[in-house]
Amino acid sequence: MSEMFDVQRWRPAPFLPERETRDGSLIFVVAVLCFLACLTAMGVIAADRAAAGWTGQLTGEATVIVRPRGGETPDAAAARAAEALSGVTGVAEARALEPAKAYDLIRPWLGDVSDLEDLPVPRLVSVTLDRRRPASARQLSTALTSQNIDATVDDHSIWIKDIRRAGTLVRWLGIGVFLLIAAAASAVIAFATRAGLAARRDVVEVLHLAGAEDGFIARLFQVRFAQMAGYAGLLGAAAAAVVGAGLRIAGGGEGLTPALPLAWSDLLAAVPCPLLAALVAAVAAQLTAAGFIRDMP
């Protein structure tokens, strides 16, 4: 009997080879796809938050353009409009903007004109609405008309519609890209499972002919590929979390940019990735192995 082989200490080896040469490249591909999927998921969450933020900001505000009548000065008309609006239900605050602010708003359109003060620039009143029960544009107009103030109310409804449309588009685009990447990852895992089974056909045949149950053989591959995909998913998710954290830190208090505000909580999107990757691999392996074994006599 072999001196190097201690029968009493023998432990059964795994039925499947523990590592194969192709495993490295497969893990890399799955990890990259998981990384992209996690980043996309974070991007979708951040884009959704950005769209909600833009809409919220616009719906919470209105701008009133006041035109003085008769001998009334523009400043007096603006002050009177602000006072009239302050009393309307659904208005949190109404404030006449200083003329300098109005000039700043139109300066980009007219250039550096020195005598802006000579132009009949209308005065603006900034209205902050009650977010719970915001006053409508019609209520604001009625309040101004009742005080005989010539003014136009802009409740940003045109912009809100566009921004909502853009936000919805960004959200669905992100979800679409995420689903595509997730589907690609699933297809790669399924393909790898089939290739793995084909490469180990000898193992499947020997186990099959030695009396192993079909479910037992399928489970061997299921566990094997679920572990591999879970590991790859962990690598991809960790890399995505590191990149996400980097973007969050680089973006300061507003995340990556004000347009795509990444929050720390968004990094949690990467947490389920290893589990999902393992689950996809397990299902793909189960279906592939079952079909493969079913073809055997």
Partner: protein, 261 residues
Amino acid sequence: MTLESDAPAASYPRSPISVPMSRNPVATVASRVAEDVVRFDDVSMRYGRGPDVLTNLNFSLAPGSFHFVTGPSGAGKSSLLKLIYLAAQPSKGLVRLFGQDMAHAPPSAKPQLRRRIGVVFQDLVLLDHLSTFDNAALPLRIAGRNPADYRNDVAELLTWVGLGQRMHAMPATLAGGERQRLAIARAVVNRPDILLADEPTGNVDHDMAVRIFRLFVELNRLGTTVLIATHDQDLIARSGRPVLLLENGRIGARPAQGPLA
């Protein structure tokens, strides 16, 4: 004179098969199975849409019988064994194993039937990632046996087939004869009800061939039905066992050594 009486008892150690058998509380195969172990009724077989490789075979193997199947290359010996170890299906006819009609056996029953069949494949099909010991123990593991109950028996069997010093070796490092002996050890380790061997002595020397044959004979004495496909006419002639002669996929004229069961 047959190989059984030909082999001097002092030259070869006694087969270890008798040891686990004596411990096994299960009754011998012969007493368990009343009907034929294998029965072919008008069986034909083909691969895909090709021509028949086996045509209208009719024979049966009684429990505890020992047969050779021989014939020229391409006669259908391996295909015949495949039908018995359930690696192929007949294109026509009825195959019965242990009294069960295989055409109507539920898929869930087949693994249990396969565990009752030991096979020495012509191309051996060893698992390269498993050691010699793990390869030999494979059928016992699949049967769900406790390693503590069989590891000594596996070691004893491997020693008996001359692989005692190679238990840790991987199949790729074994010589051709060693691989063949390992395949034989794996086929018999589970003490199958029927043993099928496809050219089991093709790569071993005469002494080892005799030793392997004695192992088969000992298994047979304990009730295992044995069917060996071989070209080795010397082995057949000296064994004195009945022969199934295959020619072009049909059962040909029977040689004189003995009748079929």
